[in-house]
């Protein structure tokens, strides 16, 4: 059976049961390589597919998933979803959208064809690992890899929606473990591209090595309050931890601290944050959301004022507004909301102004999954980086913590740089922001 045949079987059964529904089918193929001591250590290939069904019957929502795709399994999928729906409370705001659109992403942009052999990928992995291992004081390269992933998503609904996207991401990364006497350090970096040919092993080796050697002699700075700038990797992760602040679903559930602050100033007036799903340079590109709603650029914070929360059709209905095209749902999950691709607008501060005076440039934060509370905004992370004064590096810094409240931090912005940077995974585009008066323990 083709994908369409399978989808038709499921949707027909849903309709026959007097329900409405939508079906997500995710498919993926990947190759993953890791090297060790000049030899290939791991070679992994995979192909997978999973069906995730959401049904609504008598106002009640149920979901179910299956990795088996034979006819019996798909029938069972529908039965399970209907059974699950019978246990839930009536949810008047969640409906299958009256959307008959036929949507398709452009393969030539998101999934370009490339003639590259497995030998070339293997050689890339081996060269990257052995070149980095050969550098001075590098003990080994314990974490490294090359990946080529292609993912497809189909969404079909009982209202006639048919949406399809396909994208490819090639990535490579390497972490060097450096030892000198009784000191050691491990740092690394990655690259992501839609074409394997655009990956550059020499650049990864150079940057991973430089980062690790530079931090090797790091030591704590005295406890106190410092101006802090996060590098492009760390800053994107930090904002990612607190995206609950934009969630319409969390607002509906009563746990978003910003739910009463629409139209209010919540940040420095120089801060402008927009979700830009249609920027093809990033890997957060989305033509449509998980309900098949076409996406658009969404200003979230405008001149420091909270402009909107992000919504799917259900959370939007609850707040008596229209969906913003931020429905998120995996085959195994219920309907939620999610940002696609955050962009913070460049500010007006020159790089010279941004990097003047004394400040900490933090290049690594640890414990980001456990050391933060997105509801209260409180956080405390392990950190490392460099102490600078007027652009001159005074010392590498390790063994410190940085703590604070993220929502307070948005009002403690000293400067916003005039250049934007992608993080290496190309999920967020941001300028450097200098935060004032951050609590550091050393």
């Amino acid at each position: 059976m083709t994908i369409s045949d399978q989808a038709n079987q499921v949707i027909d059964l849903v309709k026959a049961a007097g329900a409405s529904g939508d079906l997500i089918i995710d498919q993926g193929e990947s190759v993953s390589l890791k090297a060790r001591d000049g030899e290939l250590e791991e070679y992994k290939v995979s192909s997978s597919q999973i069906f995730g069904l959401r049904v609504i019957k008598d106002g009640k929502v149920g979901t179910a998933h299956s990795e088996a795709a034979d006819s019996d399994a798909l029938s069972s999928l529908v039965e399970q979803a209907l059974t699950n729906a019978s246990f839930t409370a009536i949810e008047v705001h969640e409906n299958i959208l009256a959307n008959e659109a036929s949507l398709k992403t452009d393969d030539s942009v998101l999934c370009p064809v490339e003639n590259v052999s497995i030998d070339e990928k293997v050689n890339f992995a081996l060269q990257m690992e052995s070149d980095l291992a050969a550098r001075d004081r590098v003990k080994n390269v314990p974490y490294n890899g090359v990946q080529d992933n292609t993912n497809q998503r189909h969404i079909f609904s009982s209202a006639g929606l048919s949406a399809y996207s396909k994208s490819r991401m090639c990535a490579a990364y390497a972490y060097a473990l450096v030892e000198q006497g009784d000191k050691n350090a491990m740092e690394g970096i990655g690259q992501a591209s839609r074409l394997f040919a655009d990956l550059n092993a020499n650049d990864i080796v150079d940057r991973a090595y430089t980062q690790t050697i530079d931090i090797l002699d790091g030591s704590p700075v005295p406890s106190g309050h410092y101006d802090v700038i996060f590098d492009e990797e760390v800053q994107a992760s930090l904002f990612g931890v607190f995206t609950l602040m934009f969630s319409g679903k969390s607002a509906k559930d009563g746990v978003n601290p910003m739910r009463e602050k629409l139209g209010e100033s919540i940040a420095d007036t120089r801060l402008n944050i927009t979700d830009k799903p249609l920027s093809v340079d990033g890997f957060g590109y989305q033509l449509f959301d998980a309900e098949g709603t076409a996406t658009q650029s969404t200003p979230l914070i405008v001149d420091g004022t909270l402009n909107t929360l992000i919504h799917n059709s259900a959370t939007a209905s609850f707040f008596d507004m229209k969906t913003t095209g931020h429905a998120a749902r995996g085959p195994k999950s219920t309907l939620g909301v999610g940002l696609h691709q955050l962009e913070i607008a460049a500010g007006s501060s020159s790089q010279a102004d941004l990097f003047s005076g004394k400040y900490l440039m933090l290049t690594d934060l640890t414990g980001m999954h456990s050391g933060a509370n997105a509801i209260s905004g409180d956080f405390s992370f392990g950190a490392s980086g460099f102490l600078y004064e007027d652009g001159q590096r005074l010392q590498p810094v390790r063994g410190i913590t940085v703590a604070g409240n993220f929502y307070d931090m948005l009002n403690k912005i000293a400067l916003i740089g005039d250049k934007q940077f992608w993080n290496w995974e190309k999920s967020a585009l941001m300028p450097h922001i200098r935060f004032a008066d951050m609590a550091v323990s050393g």
Binding site: R36, L40, E41, Y43, K44, V45, S46, S47, S48, V61, G62, T63, A64, H65, E67, A69, A73, Q80, T83, N84, A85, F87, T88, A89, I118, D119, N140, P142, Y143, L177, N184, A185, M186, P220, S223, D253, G254, V255, P257, K332, T334, T366, G367, H369, S370, G371, I375, S376, D378, F379, S380, F381, G382, G399, I400, T401, A403, G404, A439, S441
Partner: protein, 461 residues
Amino acid sequence: MLNHQTAQSVIDHGISLGADFAELFVERSQTNTISTLSNQVQSVESGIDFGIGLRLVYGTKVLYGYTNKPEGDELKRILSELAAKDLRDPGVSAFNFDYRQITDLHPAVRTLTNDSEVESKVAYLLAADVAARAASNMISQTRGSCRQKEQHVELFNSEGLHTGDTRNYIRTSLTSIASDGSEQATGSWNDGGLMGWELEHDISAEKTGTEATRQALVNLGAKPCPSGRMPVVIGNGFGGVIFHEACGHLLETTSVAKKASVFHDQMGQMIANTAVSAVDDGTMTKQWGSINIDDEGLDTQRTQLIKDGKLTSFLVDKIGAEQTGFERTGSGRRESYKYAPASRMRNTFIEPGDANLDEMISSIDKGIYASHMGGGSVQPGTGEFNFAVTEGYFVEDGKVKYPVKAATLISTGPAVLKEISMVGNDFSLACGMCGSVSGAVPTSVGQATLKVDDILVGGNA
């Protein structure tokens, strides 16, 4: 789940490609997850995961693939693709599968196969919500969940092994959100085990609700935490995450074999204070991190990692054994068929001592009592780790003074192990999920309350 003859022909094919070892890991898992929001059922989700992981080993090189399609031709095609660069002279299969029936040390009763028992679980979660709200009128919201999983695994390998196991997991949790109008704070409580919904008899909705609310209220009234180096008393149960991060990950051959662990060459040496003895035990009856056999088909075991401060064992899987020369410890684990197995922890804990909490608190001039801990992480190569305090108190002049807001504790494994000076007698275990190279696996952490003489506290005061 996979036809015996099909498995034999696929394994034969792997050996014919010159591999030293070939293995099939077949998995079929059933899940059911219920979520509540306040006094309503928010969602019920269920499903079937099915797939086959194929592993070929050439020397110490691992080739791995997986698929949802159980047909013999598809499985052989994947093996051929994997081995294309490693073809050697064909090996000869000289085995017959002899099914090894395992002894189930953790028989479950109320399993998903029998009945998902949604009504009963919903009743428990709603009772916990009632208890949480009854404990305080400052609770603005609760979130509850009950997740049950029944995992069937079957293993075939070129050493003639054919065995299988069924694992029943269940976990409940409730989070209370307290609000005073201007600030919000959270508290949570969870239970779980390697069992079915008979867990219901071991847990209490009243305790779940009141504990989640108590912690939320403590955090709502907490002051900023002092920062700097100081002594910290770490509570029992989930406090054991300190050993999990500071030491456990560094003893997995996944890191040891790569020399990416600071302890890789320390076997037999004193790596901790003499007050510290530590164990990783996969055999504990119905414990969250227990298993009958590991995901390479080997019986699990109790492994003494540290005895009176001396390193006595690593956690060793098949590849780790070949790379390091140490005996396997039944520690090869993986989240699912999508991952090659790796050496992983099971139920990992510091053994109890004879100190008590009052002695530890009274020995501190200025420090922190971290009664409840959150998660953490570690960089094995350097031993640098962090973990989060979710309920903590400032201690001064030997007395607990006031609650403090969330803080992170950071140190390195080798340093902190030598700073554990007192271990209490109130031992307990707690459930967690551990993420690493072979995915997220259920693990327990545990300890009695213990005192660390010197560690960096990342506060905001």
